[in-house]
Amino acid sequence: MLSALQNPRQAAAQLLNFGLILSTAFMMWKGLSVISDSPSPIVVVLSGSMEPAFQRGDLLFLWNRNFMEETKVGEIVVYNVKGKDIPIVHRLVRKFGTGDEAKLLTKGDNNVADDTELYARGQDYIERKDIIGSVVGYIPFVGYVTILLSEHPWLKTVMLGIMGLVVVMQRE
């Protein structure tokens, strides 16, 4: 650690190394985003409205392309609602019409009523463009770290600090 400070060449290399790790992660994220055509190809479940299928902290992989067929009833989709920043993961239960203008209605498996109440004021249905992906893959629990991080912000600082220290202390 101290030697790193004394040797500027090594310090620079370590800094670059740290940058490389961050940019690799970012590139992989954006790459996945391009492949799946979704602005957020991996999401973490934040609520229990789809239980028992999904619990809080589960990781979902999204796919937003329609190769063979349109997004259809029964699919679990992630959608955005105007005026709300957190996307919602619910099942598509009704579809009226076809194409981009089709009127879609969603419902959480664990909810009694459909999502009309969750939509914007005066909005009865969502459209295909509101959907940022259909759930295709599932890994349980792995995303719980992000829930912990957002609920306890000080953990973020601690983690970043530890990561920085580890990278700086590595010699190679």
Partner: protein, 225 residues
Amino acid sequence: MHSTLVRAQNVFGFFTTVCFVVAGLIALSDFSWERKPSSTVSVKDVQVVRGRPHYYSTKKEEYAHIRFNLNTDLSSLFTWNTKQVFVYVSATWPSNSTGPRDNEAVIWDTIITSPSADHLQNIGPAAMKKLVKSAKGKSIDPSRGKLNLKNQKAKYQITSPTGKLAETDDVVLKVHYNVQPWVGMLTWTPQVDFGGWKTMKGGVSKAFTLPALKKKKEEPKKATS
């Protein structure tokens, strides 16, 4: 470097690698199980009535109340990686009598958990006790995939954005499923055979026509039942 930190890092790295490889193998094992689901669905009774979408609404819409018979054998969908199977019956109908069936709405659904996921169900304590007891000592219970419903009432009354539904022709009920794994890919009723995964045998009702609006005067007789 053989510091404690590096060792800890290596151990953690190896642990996560092993976890992901095992998870990947489990996910891949899905393809080794054959799936040959079958089901029959038929319409028992249909009524179209006028109603409001919710209590405070002034809008009047037509709602179809459908009763149906359902018989399924989805037992082949239950493997060690099955967390739950979501079974749903949808009604599909065309917007105009000559066009394709471009409207679809779920009228009934149910969640069948594997015994390993029973504790996650959102049901009362008595029902939970019964459910857990029904598969005591079994980690996989394929018999749960067998449903036999007679004269089942729809959970959701279908309507359409236009509010008109009476006398719609060419309505069809379809049975679908969605397999939720413990880890891996979510799968739905396949449209074509995919290796050992066969398409649903049956699962589509005969086309039927929604009746005309039910007259208010007929009500009193039925109300007693």
